[in-house]
């Protein structure tokens, strides 16, 4: 099922992540997924997240699909050239995968194969354009293909980027290239998010606000120092620091953030980073 159908029905769409393991033992990941399958609409399957070599997002997306669970197949431009990317998009379609999130991808230096050749033959905009081209029955070289796929294409945007203007211009290019929904980088400041949504409301494309569960005050400070466009305000850091039960406080904060922002956007994308078991209580706290 395409996420666009849910958005069209006016549903507030909920997604979370399934992180393929480094290796072939998929049991734990599938357990986490089973835990949440009744509570979320789809699982983003990450593509060699942070440039760390793992089991592929295509294989795991297909595994989920086989179990009747909806995947969002994440595709980055870091590891494949235009030939491999197009081929993987076609492969995804014949495996029943309908939602694709198109990303540029992190640089190889963030991962565990520092000497890898960074590809970036395409970028997020031209990847979207390429997928749109396939949907129209042509490949990137302009050749006709036998039968065309149909996808619901998604992309990402970072509302906390500074400056914001080039992000928004790129967001418009992504829409022009075929993006039909957006997921955002993690947001911790509802006022800032509201201002962002005001700027993009005319675009007419659903936006899902990103939430990363805070695990500790230290993690919040680390993200503030190191992750582009993430800003955890001091009062949240203090709350995490003073909490007797960190998990409880994390759930409380995430639930509160979603409650404050759900009226502004069309869905939420929760990144639990190992705390999958708390996601149901976050959704309860958020009234979803």
């Amino acid at each position: 099922m395409k996420l666009s159908e849910l958005f069209n029905d006016g549903k507030f769409v909920i997604t979370t992540e399934a992180g393929p393991p480094k290796g072939v033992d998929v049991e734990r990941m599938l357990e986490d997924v089973e835990l949440l399958r009744e509570r979320v609409d789809a699982f983003n399957v990450t593509d060699q997240q942070s440039s760390v070599m793992r089991l592929g997002s295509l294989a795991v997306s297909a595994l989920l699909k086989r179990r009747g669970i909806e995947p969002v197949f994440q595709v980055t431009c870091r590891d494949r050239n235009r030939i491999a990317l197009q081929s993987d998009l076609l492969s995804a379609y014949v495996l029943g995968i309908e939602n694709v999130l198109c990303l540029t991808g992190d640089y190889v230096s963030l991962g565990d194969h520092l000497g890898a050749k960074p590809v970036f033959d395409l970028d997020s905009v031209s990847l979207l354009l390429t997928a749109s081209r396939l949907q129209e029955g042509y490949d990137l070289a302009g050749r006709e293909i036998a039968g065309s796929p149909t996808f619901c294409l998604g992309a990402v945007v970072n509302p906390g980027a500074n400056p914001l203007e080039p992000q928004i211009i790129k967001m418009e290019k992504k829409i022009e290239a075929g993006a039909r929904f957006f997921q955002t980088q993690a947001v911790y400041e509802p006022e800032r998010f509201a201002a962002f949504m005001k700027q993009v409301e005319g675009f007419g494309v659903p936006v899902m606000v990103g939430i990363i569960l805070l695990k500790s005050a230290g993690m919040a400070r680390f993200m503030n120092r190191n992750v582009a466009g993430i800003h955890v305000p001091d009062h949240l850091i203090v709350e995490m620091e003073e909490a007797k039960d960190r998990a409880e406080m994390s759930v409380e904060i995430a639930g509160r953030l979603i409650r404050e922002m759900k009226g502004l956007c069309q869905g939420v994308h929760i990144m639990a980073l190992g705390w999958e078991k708390y996601v149901p209580t976050v959704l309860d706290a958020a009234g979803l």
Binding site: T104, Y107, D121, L140, K170, A228, G229
Partner: protein
Amino acid sequence: MLVSEQKPLEEILRSLEGEGRVFLLGCRGCAEACQTGGEKEVLAMKETLEGAGKEIAGWAALDFLCQKGLVKTGLYPFEDQIVSADSILTMCCGIGVQVTSSVVGKVTHPACNTISLGGSRGEWWGSERCLECGDCLLDLTGGICPLTACTKSLINGPCGGARDGRCEFEPEVRECGWQLIYERLKKLDRLHKLREISLPKDFARMQPPKDLRGTAFWSLGQRQEERTGDETLGTL
């Protein structure tokens, strides 16, 4: 040595759209040798553009547009003409266009594509780099090369990794190329250029053209070497 070829006139005229007065800038270095931007070519371009209804604010052909110092001093006598122009059309390799754009606070258009020599730089080393991609994009990016200034060689805008204007890779030493491009375009009032979708690059053009090998552009000693197997430098 950087080898360049002139862009099709159509493309040059498209980049000059809406700009009535143009200053022409040639280079007496590589571009003169390539017959793409010496005095002769600049004068021919002047005539062509005038024929196309442009007013030429002035022209110059300087030694080594890849050398900032020379460009600064060389353009000094033309200051008034440059100030009165809407833009500059620079007839040389991607390095010279980047240098001109960084030295002069004016919209600078490339008149040439820089052809791959399989890896070569300007005669004078500045921070500008050209990957000799064979299809110059500097017109869209405010005269800053996205292939070399951006770590991932992105051509459609910044990735999500830029932080405080620094690249996600080696932020201690690398500025985010797209931050620089954004600021330059903003300063030049050309932000709309950022809205144009750039199609995937034709990487076939990044291979040295077949007929370049065996010419003096490829290697001064090439012909001699091929004939005699001798490693010493031959004559042209």
